[in-house]
Subunit: 383 residues, 2 copies
């Protein structure tokens, strides 16, 4: 069987993008590269649904998350962290590393944080400088209600900072219209690139916070992630440090693809694939971990009788299907099947087909053909 | 003419590496990728001349520089910054961003910092926590005496932190033997890759400092650059954050190339090309900016009558030769010709040939054939 990458990051890269990455390295301080920066920035603004600059940082997604925290909260400031899994915990851990006081609003793995819980936390902590949230909790497959969160933070002085790493370009997120203050994403999800670039955009009131922080007594302790440098350089279509410029060149192609499709169609495409992946759960005899599932990945809970680590190996070795398992306390207990970026429905169908064949080998009976059939029906009906 | 990239970063990437970059994206949490991490780490140790772990960070070189500062000096600590140009200033600026007290030991652009100046500064500031240095000052083409610096810092409690971004793999730097405490480099110079990865290695006494800092009252304010995470993950051939894994795969090929050549031969190759580039200066009627020039690039001073920005455009447009000009106060006054990584002597010769033809157009007479001839003689004699 052919190898098929269906992990929730990195996701596959289109062939034309791979070929672009094989083109010779070019110099980044040139009019040609400035033209590329200008073009990709405009296209990123389209994807972020913002008129604000979208900054490109050479780093993993966590680097942009660190930039968000370091630039918006002083040491001793307060953050309300909305936590529904490992990636929500990532925000908390970054805050703690920066000496930020954390108020945790936590739900069990698989659940989403209700906006009412944020409202209550903000009422109790009106001095919170920021609220952190995770659009798509990649650890559990849960979706969080960013629009609902933003409606609450907009009426407060707290900035809403959103991890859109596996959410942006997958599910509706209208930064300007909804009033989200900071959105972060990475290159290796819906943007269909190898890992290596991270992106961040800030609302006008977030920029006001950033600028005042640097002028205040508790100046941010960061140099590489000083967002003012990225903003000021971007005004001249330039970057403060040597960027991963071949990835930026490749980004141009991914963004063209998304522009051509249209961002609303892109959201619809992911939603449709997600419904088709979820529809397979019942016939496979598996439950979904997430109560309100995200559209970029589907997380199936495995019965306790199934060895959740061994099954990943069999899926890859016998059928070429590379999906992800669980992390930390979820290790061995779930299967995470991605359907975002350059993954299409027929690959989701291949994964469902492989699961139908492999689960019985682990003592979990499946009625042959039922899962692919259910998935197919859900996909057809979504047309 | 064919385009030729002769800038001091990024440098050209070998064709086989480009093709590797065009191969499909793979998952980074896998036994296959762990085997690659293990292999590249061993090869990086060979290049760094160290038995200590070499950590791979997804960032520009400045990211690893920030990691070096953030992890070794507390807020209010003291750094002696040896400055011979823009990149020495970069260390100072990072220190300042992290609230570190800076003692500058500065020489005019083009000069190198004499080790005696470091000895005097350390005598005056025995409480200095670190000393920062720049092996190859890419802004001026000057070489600094890292071995001389290390002989001094070894007898003190200050850690010697070296920017080897355009030095490592180009000029002799024996981290363990010389007693250098921290060495930083980037992917886009002697390692012959596109930009996007940075590398850092620390001596045992530097690690002791790092671990004690995190346990102390002034814990480092960083999460993404927390070097303990990289070290601890590397023990299992893993990374703390999603790495730019296609670049790591490509790195493997570059390192094989350097291993096959042998690091001493690699230093000799660069030294020989550097002599050939310098030998062209006299016949071109140009002075070298650096008194003790580095081997990765040659910096020619332009006469005041020559438009140093316009000449870059003509070199590229008419001859396909992409060299770099000066930065900041040196803008328009110098030409920086790189000869490191995947640049060979015949490309240096092409650049010298183009300069012979272009300089007269800017009113600077050159006796035809003299520069290429002198360069050729110097190269032949270096065999």
């Amino acid at each position: 069987m052919k190898p098929r990458l269906l992990t929730p990051g990195p996701t596959p890269t289109p062939e034309e993008t791979l070929l672009e990455l094989a083109r010779p390295v070019t110099f980044h301080r040139s009019s040609q590269f400035r033209a590329i920066i200008k073009e990709v920035t405009a296209d990123l603004q389209y994807i972020f649904c913002t008129t604000q600059p979208v900054l490109t940082i050479t780093a993993s997604g966590t680097g942009a998350m660190e930039a968000a925290i370091a630039n918006t909260v002083p040491v001793g400031g307060k953050a309300i962290c909305l936590i529904s899994g490992r990636w929500g915990e990532r925000w908390r851990n970054i805050c703690k590393a920066f000496g930020v006081t954390v108020v945790e609003v936590k739900v069990p793995y698989g659940e989403s944080v209700p906006p009412e819980a944020l409202a209550a936390a903000l009422k109790e902590h009106p001095d919170a400088a920021i609220v952190t949230a995770t659009h798509s909790e990649t650890a559990t497959g849960a979706r969080n209600d960013i629009k609902g969160f933003a409606a609450i933070t907009q009426a407060s002085s707290a900035l809403l900072i959103v991890d859109g790493i596996s959410g942006l370009g997958v599910m509706e997120c209208r930064m300007d219209d909804w009033g989200v203050d900071v959105v972060v994403t990475g290159s290796q999800k819906a943007l269909m690139l190898p890992p290596g670039l991270a992106f961040i955009s800030l609302s006008p009131r977030a920029w006001t916070r950033v600028d005042s922080l640097y002028q205040g007594p508790s100046t941010p302790r960061t140099f590489y992630f000083d967002l003012r440098k990225y903003r000021d350089n971007l005004a001249g279509n330039d970057t403060p440090f040597t960027p991963a410029n071949t990835l930026v060149r490749a980004l141009r192609l991914s963004l063209k693809r998304l522009r051509d499709e249209g961002i609303e169609n892109c959201w619809k495409r992911h939603a449709r694939m997600a419904r088709a992946a979820r529809a397979a759960a019942g016939p496979l005899g598996l439950e979904l971990l997430a109560k309100d599932p995200a559209d970029g990945l589907t997380v199936y809970k495995l019965p306790e009788t199934v060895d959740g680590v061994a099954i990943l190996g069999v899926l890859e070795k016998e059928y070429g299907i590379r999906v992800a398992g669980g992390q930390d306390t979820l290790k061995g207990k779930i299967i995470r099947l991605a359907h975002m970026g350059y993954i299409d429905y027929f690959e989701v169908l291949a994964a469902v087909s492989a699961l139908e064949m492999v689960l019985p080998k682990f003592g979990h009976a499946v009625q042959p053909g039922t899962a692919v059939s259910a998935s197919q029906r859900a996909f057809s009906e979504g047309a």
